[in-house]
């Protein structure tokens, strides 16, 4: 215990990330439970029955499809609902991973929303042009376009941090707004990418994605917005994420920089180069989320929707609740996908709880989760780490020989 000084350059993001993983799965479970409990109080305060409301939300999410005893019409309805839930889950997995990967490298990526948006722009552009391209090639090209756009967009923030020391929180938030306004410009009436369709000349939308660039629907009716194969792409990327982070040279370097940039430098790992690389990878993930949404079920971009979209921001809550791990992020994305779908106007019985209020319930629960999960670290930040450092027990080798950490 004679070690003077402390690790000086460890970022708050890195500390938060370490704290989350150190706490085990119990913390996110308790966090979610308390958030739902308080959400229930809000429901009760609004004059509705919380238990009935949560049951309605659960059924609205279609998760009751998993129960074998649900049958007949209920089962058909549940299947439709579950398809919608998983459609919403797909981009949340990816924007969640985009935030989680940055966390593991000691960075806050608040820019998931902007990276997601430029991903949708690029995917809709490629998907609606290149007529005559073979279907498989076209859809792959459109997805790659989304990834590249997201990667470049986030790479700007990484480059600014590496070269000029610009805080990535600031730059990614600014890039979010830049992306929103870029989209408004591109697709507005008379904008460079505004629809060529004569019927749409008074509506600010993009061209429709061509059939050849649409992701195939594998569950449900394509006409009724069935579930596209994007969910499998997202899951495959999650597996790739795990390998990249835990088994690759890049992952080792990213984690080393995240935990201690000075020690990484001492081993010959350039922190600056890693910041660019990490942000670009995050951007690719969020950009892919945008591409899957556009190519899977939205098929066009309307400027009205751009500023309303929250997918990238939900990614932050998803990553925090998922402890920045691959599996946790998927689980948290399913939870948020279910909440979003279960509280939507279409799915919630208005006699049980006003859907307009219910969608705010989702915001409340999301906000509470972010607050609970980050609060200890914010406190730490305010006191420059002195509180947490003491609370963390320092096992003495003599006492606990071989205690695995």
């Amino acid at each position: 215990m004679s070690d003077e000084g402390g690790p000086g350059t460890i970022t708050v993001a890195s500390r938060l990330s370490g704290y989350l993983r150190g706490g085990g799965v119990l913390i996110p479970l308790i966090t979610a439970f308390i958030a739902f409990l308080i959400g229930g109080l809000v429901v009760a305060a609004a004059g509705a029955n919380p238990i009935d409301t949560y049951r309605a939300i659960f059924e609205g999410s279609g998760l009751n499809w998993l129960f074998p005893w649900v049958s007949g019409d209920d089962r058909t309805l549940a299947a439709l609902n579950l398809q919608q839930t998983l459609i919403l889950t797909t981009p949340l997995i990816l924007t969640g991973l985009a935030v989680a990967f940055a966390f593991r490298a000691g960075l806050f990526n608040i820019g998931g929303q902007g990276q997601y948006l430029v991903g949708t722009f690029a995917a809709v552009y490629i998907g609606s042009s290149l007529d005559g391209t073979p279907a498989l090639l076209h859809v792959v090209l459109a997805m790659v376009a989304g990834c590249v756009a997201g990667g470049l967009w986030a790479g700007i923030a990484g480059l600014l941090k590496a070269t000029a020391g610009v805080n990535e929180v600031i730059s990614t938030i600014m890039l979010n707004w830049t992306a929103v306004f870029l989209g408004s410009y591109l697709f507005t009436l008379g904008g460079p990418l505004h629809s060529d369709d004569p019927a749409a000349q008074s509506i600010p939308v993009s061209n429709d994605v061509l059939e050849s660039a649409r992701l195939p629907v594998f569950w449900g009716d394509p006409e009724l917005q069935g579930l596209h194969i994007g969910i499998f792409i997202a899951l495959a990327v999650t597996a790739l994420f795990w390998v990249l982070l835990n088994r690759s040279v890049t992952g080792y370097e990213v984690r080393a920089v995240g935990f201690n940039p000075d020690a990484a430098e001492y081993a010959g790992i350039s922190a600056g180069r890693n910041y660019v690389k990490v942000m670009a990878i995050c951007g690719v993930l969020a950009g892919l989320a945008g591409a899957l949404d556009v190519l899977g079920w939205q098929f066009r971009i309307a400027t009205n929707d751009i500023a309303v979209s929250q997918v990238g921001y939900y990614g932050i809550a998803v990553a925090l609740l998922g402890r920045n791990t691959a599996f946790g992020t998927v689980a948290a994305a399913v939870l948020f996908g279910a909440l979003l779908n279960g509280t939507s106007v279409r799915n919630l019985d208005p006699t049980i709880f006003e859907p307009q209020l219910a969608s705010n319930l989702t915001f409340i629960i999301q906000g509470l989760i972010v607050l609970f999960v980050s609060a200890p670290v914010l406190v730490t930040m305010l006191t420059r780490g002195r509180l947490l450092r003491r609370r963390r027990p320092t096992p003495k080798p003599e006492v606990r020989t071989g205690a695995g950490a």
Partner: protein
């Protein structure tokens, strides 16, 4: 005043945390003022007039000294804190115990020594008459330490009991009345300091005689392995910190670089190890130029680097020991295969190293941060020396370590030398430089200003370190 002495990880801090109610004893009892007590929490400890000053201060930087001192027991005026009363209270305590601090200064603006005084004031404000200090001198300069000791003497004169935790023998002999020595969690003896010497305490601590003077054979220096020529290096502000420095380390010798802190030592070490690009000059390892080749170029040429600050540079504390040991070679087989890293092979490589370098309490999966300082340094040394570097750059390799660990580090460096490899030792500890080095160089304002044999007198060395002219 009672001192508690023991090696890193001997259980000193654990024992004190029990006294302060942070940990609960599994067995045994605590007797306070003749009564057996149970201390369930720090709050209860404070109630029993026990106060503790931790190694890492627990102050709120943006608040003033007075606000920090009265925190959680503020004098009130209505619903508000009575700022004047708080400041008065701090002044009163300051005067009584000779702890001079400005109650209105913000904690973030005052030095470490002053912050420590604030901690002590806070404890006294709560009425403590048993004061526990955990390694209070670890963060202090020699000057600040002397002032702290003055304060502690004043406190004991006022009837406060002080428990002083340390692993520094000289300090303990200096300040304490009695010393209890712990070794691996067991009390091995309590002695009066008047009957003790450094040697006798060290023997109690480590369990055997400790060689304060390193025994070594005469050097059998061979070819030049590290040559530095006319090196110019800038510091972080862009000013020249190393100016036209030249030195040479041959195989089979330890070259010590002595100097007052801040005379270009850090920049020199960073340039040689590739962390800093030199502005001009040459660095050659066994004839191969590495100036500007970066960290990987230096590693590849055969530089080993025991970094000055093992927390900041030497280790990734949140990584496992296996991952830390792989920090130099993770991109090569056998750890890397087909572009992927194998945690299993990392562990296989780590296990024999941990054994060979006697890292206690660590499995390959243990996080580095949970080891004691001495064992952390052993991990750094294991990684840097395992590949038998041609030249080892050791910067302050024993800072903050206890005598047992220091001895281990020294013997490892000597082993490098005896195997015909070169060692450049940069240290602020003159005793260390003299006992290990075969040649002693003195650095002053970025230049080597003198070279001595290791048996040089303190006076001669001191004069050269301060830039005095000698026959160099």
């Amino acid at each position: 005043m009672h001192a508690l002495l023991g090696e890193n990880g001997a259980g000193k801090s654990t024992l004190m945390n029990v006294l302060y109610g942070l940990l609960q004893p599994d067995e045994g009892e605590i007797v306070l003022r003749g009564e057996p007590v149970r201390i369930g929490s720090p709050r209860e400890a404070i109630g029993m007039r026990i106060g503790m000053v931790h190694q890492h201060f627990m102050l709120i930087p943006v608040m003033t000294v007075a606000e920090n001192v009265v925190l959680a027991s503020e004098p009130r005026k209505g619903a508000l804190m009575d700022r004047d009363a708080a400041e008065r209270r701090v002044r009163e305590l300051s005067e009584r115990f000779g702890l001079v601090v400005d109650p209105r200064a913000h904690v973030e603006d005052i030095g470490v020594g002053q912050q420590q005084r604030v901690e002590i004031l806070r404890v006294l404000h709560r009425g403590a008459d048993v004061l526990i200090l955990d390694e209070p001198t670890a963060v202090l300069t020699a000057q600040e330490t002397a002032e702290l000791f003055k304060v502690l003497r004043a406190l004991t004169a006022e009837g406060v009991s002080v428990i002083f935790i340390s692993h520094k023998l000289r300090e303990v002999l200096d300040i304490a009345d009695r010393v209890t020595v712990l070794r691996r969690g067991v009390k091995v003896g309590t002695v009066d300091t008047s009957d003790a010497t450094e040697a006798s305490l060290a023997k109690l601590m480590v369990g055997r005689d400790v060689l304060f003077r390193v025994e070594k054979e005469a050097a059998a220096a061979g070819e030049a392995l590290l040559e530095v020529e006319d090196l110019d290096v800038e510091d972080d502000r862009g000013l020249l910190a190393v100016r036209g420095l030249s030195l040479r380390v041959r195989g089979g010798e330890i070259v010590g670089v002595a100097g007052v802190d801040g005379n270009g030592q850090s920049e020199l070490v960073e340039a040689i190890t590739g962390l800093r690009v030199p502005r001009a000059g040459h660095i050659r390892v066994a004839g191969r130029e590495i100036g500007g080749a970066g960290v990987r170029g230096a590693l590849a040429a055969g530089i080993g680097h025991i970094a000055e600050d093992r927390h900041r540079r030497g280790l990734v504390l949140d990584f496992s020991l296996a991952e830390n040991l792989a920090l130099r070679e993770y991109r090569r087989p056998p750890i890397r295969r087909f572009g992927l890293l194998s945690p299993k092979r990392m562990e296989q490589q780590a296990r024999p190293l941990l054994e060979q370098y006697d890292v206690r309490g660590g499995q390959p999966q243990t996080t580095a941060g949970s080891l004691s300082g001495g064992n952390q340094q052993k991990v750094v040394i294991a990684r840097e020396l395992a590949e038998e570097p041609k030249v080892t750059i050791a910067a302050q390799p024993t800072r903050g370590l206890d005598v047992g660990a220091i001895e281990f580090v020294h013997s490892q460096l000597l082993e490098q030398r005896d195997a015909g490899r070169g060692v450049l030792l940069v240290s602020l500890e003159l005793e260390e430089i003299r006992s290990l080095s075969d040649r002693v160089l003195v650095i002053y304002e970025g230049r080597i200003v003198a070279e001595f044999a290791p048996d040089v007198s303190d006076e001669e060395l001191g004069v050269a370190m301060l830039g005095g002219k000698t026959a160099a």
